[in-house]
Amino acid sequence: GLYSWETVTQLPATYAPKAKSHRPDCKFLTELTRLFQKCRLSGSVFITLKKYDGRTKPIPRKGSVEGFEPSDNKCLLRATDGKKKISTVVSSKEVNKFQMAYSNLLRANMDGLKKRDKKSKSKKSKAAQ
């Protein structure tokens, strides 16, 4: 049958990440390391970080999802090299442990950034005094 004009022009409902595709933190970090290694010679690693309320279904434009209580303590991390996509959800319970491992990972893998030269470093510390 023919779609009504109203349906065709409707905007998509709010996107919700697919829960089943989230990897546990440790696996995410292992695969993130692999992404960095893959892209060392060429390419980019994209990491996205945002607050996450735990939704697993799109929020319809009209009304709301039954029984959904937004959580306040989670964030969603996504990473990709343009081809492979990985993601994980970190809650405030795990954040300290995760943060340490995550920042160590970034420090170790983003080692291509040029080192701060000694001159500017001493200038900075003088300015701070």
Binding site: S44, L49, S103
Partner: protein
């Protein structure tokens, strides 16, 4: 898409953007080892702030972002 020169200005703008609407704001890191560059973008799909690193700063930005 304004690009900030100093980390302090950028992190203030980023925090402001996040506080305006926490559910909409996101941080995107783009790392290119071949160029030795890291580009950080904060956006809520209406407004975007950029910051580009070539020098190695302590990655406190990671910790700051996660804590937010």
């Amino acid at each position: 898409m304004p690009q900030y020169q100093t980390w302090e200005e950028f992190s203030r703008a980023a925090e402001k953007l996040y506080l305006a609407d926490p559910m909409k704001a996101r941080v995107v890191l783009k790392y290119r080892h071949s160029d030795g560059s890291l580009c950080i973008k904060v956006t809520d799909d209406l407004v975007q702030w950029h910051f580009k690193y070539y020098k190695i700063l302590n990655l406190r930005n990671v910790i700051g972002n996660l804590e937010t």
